[in-house]
């Protein structure tokens, strides 16, 4: 322990020593902030610190983990039986749907005249368990008990039951921090499944709501529309469900519609998440950004928060022709008029339509 100012020294020199220590630590903090903020010079320090923080995270998580364990071990036979039945039913339903998906994939491949049917875009899954949750209006983050030693990397997509959950913000050795799609600093490029309309869904700091701030008043969107990832932006692959539209407000006096959507992932209710690895060459895989560009602060450039929804709309949006609704499957988005792509995406990804 560093102790500036010994006990035996006279009072005034001790005061001076405290002042000196204050200057030292304050300067150190400011230098740290600059290094951390400008450029990623502290990546390794962060990695080490998050390793050091792991025991405390375990301690913080232990009460809820213990409660979970008690619940599991004292679950009655009937409850287990009921859950087993429910799971079996869900599994059967999923199996039936998978059959259908295989048929659709085959059809899709034929339609594209590809030689062989493409395999699923996801290559590998890793379940993780939430250790710590921070759901406030400023930050929507969770800490999960899988880290770089399990192969988790910065910018990786994370799914939860129901839909997209977020992406990895920092990967420590044994734990990682995930920024949720509802974080006010997070934005997901999405697509309306019904109409193919592309836009960006921004978090609100509320686990139940996201907004779509860049849609013109006359855009083709309705309540109950399903939003899926559009595959732009280089982080999330195309076609994963994100949210369902719950409110469309159209004020003819305003250039932009007020659209709110509810995330499909059980963000504040579930303990388990899934890390996903994608096949790089797959058409539905996230389009890579400029290959030489170093990883930015928020991994995918398009995912870093777009500017606050200002009244001035992105140049391209006001004169959007109504998009013709086309029945489509998530893997094959129709060619939407490029005008619907908001200019708010900071870095327009290259090769956006690899399909």
């Amino acid at each position: 322990m560093v102790a500036f100012g010994g006990a035996g020294r006279p009072v005034h020199s001790r005061v001076a020593a405290t002042g000196l220590a204050f200057t030292f630590y304050a300067t150190l903090s400011i230098v740290l902030m600059f290094l951390d903020q400008r450029g990623n010079w502290l990546e390794y320090a962060r990695y080490g610190l998050s390793a050091a923080a792991y025991p405390v995270q375990l301690a913080v998580d232990s009460p809820s983990a213990a409660w979970h364990w008690v619940q599991e071990s004292f679950a009655t036979r009937e409850a287990l039986q009921a859950r087993n039945d429910a799971l079996r039913a869900a599994n059967r339903a999923l199996a039936v749907r998978t059959l259908r998906i295989e048929a659709l994939e085959a059809e899709n491949a034929q339609l594209r005249a590809l030689k062989a049917a493409l395999p699923d875009v996801a290559e590998k899954w890793l379940p993780g368990e939430i250790m710590n949750i921070e759901l406030s209006t400023l930050r929507q983050r969770v800490t999960v008990n899988k880290g770089a030693t399990s192969g988790v990397f910065k910018g990786q997509a994370v799914l939860a039951r129901g839909g997209l959950m977020g992406q990895v913000l920092r990967a420590g050795p044994w734990s990682s921090e995930i920024i949720l799609i509802t974080d006010p600093e997070h934005a997901v490029p999405v697509q309306v499944l019904r109409s193919g309309l592309r836009t960006i869904a921004v978090g609100q700091g509320n686990a139940g709501v996201m907004t779509l701030p860049y849609l013109p008043v006359n855009s083709d969107i309705k309540v109950d529309d399903l939003l899926v990832t559009s595959g732009l932006g280089g982080v999330f692959p195309a076609g994963y469900p994100v949210a369902r539209v719950i409110e469309v407000g159209r004020d003819p006096g305003q250039p932009l519609a007020l659209v709110r959507a509810q995330p499909l992932a059980a963000i504040d209710r579930d303990r388990e998440v899934t890390f996903v690895w994608f096949k790089p060459g797959h058409p539905a895989a996230p389009a890579p950004l400029a290959a030489t560009a170093p990883q930015r602060d928020f991994a995918g450039a398009a995912q870093s928060a777009p500017p606050k929804p200002k009244p001035a709309p992105p140049a391209a949006t006001p004169a959007t022709p109504p998009v013709t609704p086309t029945a489509t499957s998530p893997a094959t988005p129709p060619a939407t008029p490029p005008a619907t792509l908001p200019a708010a995406t900071p870095a327009a990804p290259r090769g956006e339509d690899a399909r």
């Binding site: 204050f22 406030s136 209006t137």
Partner: protein, 159 residues
């Protein structure tokens, strides 16, 4: 007479650790709005009661730990805590002799200053500042001060 031997280092470290856990343990949203900044209160207490036990190193370390857990810019909470702790150490003789109520007022002011520093750095580093609810933390912290004093003063001999 060696003054160093009587420094309550163990109690200090243990209380800081427990406060850190209280500060980062997940709570429901409505409860985390009013959650006082436990770690700041503990650091304040030790800065006033035993300024030489932790010095400014302990506040710095606690701040860094908070930064890591909160995922904030490294040094953000560290700077805020060092500023607050410095003021507390500088005026510890003055504050220590005041009645508990005035101490609580001081704790409120110090917590508000802490929150202000964090708020400034949040703005500088491009985080969103859209919530006024953060200013509730100093109020609950000030209310907690007498209780925290009562608990923490039992862990070491009065001086």
């Amino acid at each position: 007479m060696n003054a160093r031997v009587s420094e309550p280092r163990g109690a200090l470290l243990l209380s800081a650790f427990i406060a850190l856990i209280f500060q980062v343990v997940p709570l429901p949203a409505w409860l985390s709005i009013v959650r006082p900044a436990f770690l700041v209160i503990v650091v304040l207490y030790w800065s006033i009661a035993a300024p030489r036990a932790g010095g400014l190193f302990l506040p710095f370390l606690c701040g860094l730990a908070l930064d890591v857990f909160r995922g904030a810019v490294l040094g953000e909470h560290a700077l805020a805590l060092v500023v607050v702790a410095y003021l507390a150490i500088r005026f510890h003789l003055l504050i220590r002799n005041k009645p508990l109520f005035e101490q609580a007022l001081f704790a409120f002011a110090a917590l508000a200053l802490y929150e202000f520093v964090v708020w400034c750095i949040d703005g500088w580093s491009g985080h969103s500042l859209n919530s006024g609810l953060r200013w509730l933390h100093p109020v609950t912290g000030g209310l907690l001060w007498p209780i925290a004093c009562g608990i923490l003063s039992r862990t070491h001999r009065p001086r």
